[in-house]
Assembly symmetry: C2
Homo-oligomer: 393 residues x 2
């Protein structure tokens, strides 16, 4: 079988690299951002829209699909690709993260996790072997080991224990996994403790996985700590394997984490922000509900080539959001995802051309991240909005 990953070009100053990922459903260029299609749909979009945006690879959630529609249904319908009519590459997570964050965890031990469904309260047990079997049925191109992801701020002893359990599970997943056209990635843990990260990398690389994810970051810790932990971790990972940072997706984080050597990203942030009316532009994200857009004839971002910006004024989007029209969420999602896809393309081009350090500097000095206070407020709004299923994710 063809090798999963090749590095095409590396930045001489930073650790950024441009690569190619070869999967059973096509090859794609890295660094890559994967839109999140939790329930076998990237919210509001068809596969046609995703192709139009040039999204290369998407992520789906094993936990959600296991509970609804159920693996038997997806199996009968010919697997996840066919079920959702997406013939490009897919990555599925193992379900571990959602069991702990969404499910009502009853018990966790070395055997696995006993939890109640967040949908109907039914009881389920997830073991490393079952996580692999579930992902085999779904049929994604890249699948993940089962892991226990503790929240940020836990004591070191707890983080260590969870890490060791994740190691045990990773080993069992590795043993259970045998489908040649699916690549199983390990997940490095250890919270923000560099010593633990080192242990985790050592253990997991000794098992020789085709790719390594970095879990347990972007969970509310300060950004500096994310970056420093990430840097220390990627330094230890093999250069010839893809590195996947889970749950990261803000423009500034993408640029910065590529500089630390990350090849793959996923996050619900760009799509969730879109449904909340927060749209990316080259220098900041803006709130389309703001009254300054009510008669703005220009597109949201005049430098953008997405369907939304090519077709509609900011005033029209403002109107749709004010009216809570369903089309609003879709047009905003198209724009935000296209923004991220273009950003990743630009990052890649500048790595290849040797301009990445300058690009990184320029981007980060121009782009004004939502400040901590705004982010806190948005997080609160999001939590409040969870009762409104259309917006939350």
């Amino acid at each position: 079988m063809r090798q999963l990953f090749e590095v095409a070009s590396t930045c001489p100053e930073t650790r950024a690299r441009a690569g190619i990922l070869h999967t059973a459903h096509g090859s794609l260029k890295t660094p890559v951002f994967m839109p999140v299609g939790t329930q076998a749909t990237v919210k509001t979009l068809t596969p046609h829209d995703l192709k139009d945006i040039n999204a290369d690879m998407i992520l789906a959630n094993t936990y959600q699909l296991y509970l609804r529609p159920g693996l038997d249904i997806i199996q009968k319908l010919g697997g996840l690709h066919k079920f959702m009519a997406w013939n490009g590459p897919i990555l599925t997570d193992s379900g571990g993260f959602q069991v702990l964050s969404l499910g009502h965890l009853r018990q966790i031990n070395n055997d696995g996790a006993l939890f109640r469904s967040h949908i109907d309260g039914s009881e389920h047990f997830l073991s490393p072997e079952l996580a692999i079997e579930a992902q085999e049925i779904l049929g994604a191109d890249i699948i993940m080991v089962l892991d226990e992801c503790p929240p940020y701020g836990e004591r070191k002893a707890y983080i260590k224990k969870a890490m060791e359990r994740s190691h045990l599970w990773a080993q069992r997943c590795r043993q259970r996994h045998n489908k040649e056209n699916q690549h199983l990635f390990a997940i490095v843990h250890g919270g923000t403790f560099i010593e633990l990260r080192k242990q985790s990398v050592e253990f997991l690389t000794s098992l020789d996985f085709p790719g390594y994810a970095i879990g347990g970051l972007s969970l509310g810790e300060p950004k500096d700590l994310t970056y420093s932990t990430l840097e220390a971790t990627t330094h230890l990972l093999p250069d010839d394997k893809p590195r996947y940072l889970m749950g990261v997706g803000s423009p500034e984080d993408l640029v910065e984490c590529v500089a630390h050597g990350v090849d793959m990203f996923d996050s619900a942030l760009p799509t969730r922000l879109a449904r909340n009316g927060a749209l990316f532009t080259y220098n900041k994200r803006c709130n389309i509900r703001n009254s300054r857009f009510k008669d703005d004839e220009r597109p949201v971002d005049s430098t953008c080539d997405c369907y939304t910006c090519r077709t509609f004024s900011a005033a029209y989007l403002h109107h749709l959001f004010k009216c809570e029209e369903l089309l609003a969420y879709r047009l905003a999602t198209i724009h935000n995802l296209r923004f991220i896809v273009r950003l990743m393309n630009e990052i890649r081009c500048t790595i290849i051309d040797g301009r990445f350090p300058q690009f990184r500097e320029d981007f980060l000095s121009n782009y004004q991240p939502a400040d901590a206070e705004v982010r806190e407020e948005q997080k609160k709004k999001w939590l409040d909005a969870r009762s409104n299923k259309h917006i939350a994710e």
Copy 2:
């Protein structure tokens, strides 16, 4: 200026006819069904989707757009076509119907209607002249006179009074109207009283409008009464002018009302049903939430050529509806509208080929309308769902 309407073919047995409507934004074939784009968007769809469905002409609501975003905004943005990026024909209603059904009517007299906005309670006054001015600003290809549309079941004296006021308003609209590229249609009233309908047709045709709508039907009266009133009314209308039946859109009604000589239709029914998971098929409408679809690999309608049926299984749609995923509403809307567009095409072809009477018979004997009880229940559900803005309209 080119004549608005030509009759291309008539059915020798029924009163059905195939025609062509020439507007400033293109010509289209009749009989035509116009999807409803209340707030400058056919809910969930882009103009691109509408073209893909082959929708020829859409309807937008003056009342809604007057209140939000406001006529000044749409004027500044270059008119409704440009605002919503739809370059095909548009018809706007006058706002009269919504003032009475949605707005909080304060007072109505021969001058016009004083009402409160259903959005913010602000007070507004709508006169025949203002209705025309508003529609001139919107810039639709066909515009409507202001009318007073009383509910079904009112006393004859009340219906007569409203009709006479509508006549007065129609005359004033006619006087005020002067844009050559906009065609102003009259609206025939008189409830289910044939004598009043006759008076209304006589009065309005004496003013010589380019087209005639039939208002005040499909307001909850029994279907037989709809059909008999319609038949009596269309018999009186001139043959060389288009006839537009307002608010009708179920498959069986479309076939039957074409047989009575109607050329144009609009209704929110197909799109609203879609958002509720009720999908048209050749022999009935089905509820995609029904568990019999949960593992159905076939498309919702295997005879359908829409994007939804070409791309997805009924099981996938069932899953999206169960999860309340936004994509569900869009895929269902695409299907229901495409079903209606294909039905209208087929009606037209059979009129031209001389097969319409047979087609009508076959269709009506195969197609099982939602029975009165189901319809009542759906109406109740719809009323309940009005708090959920995404579904109601």
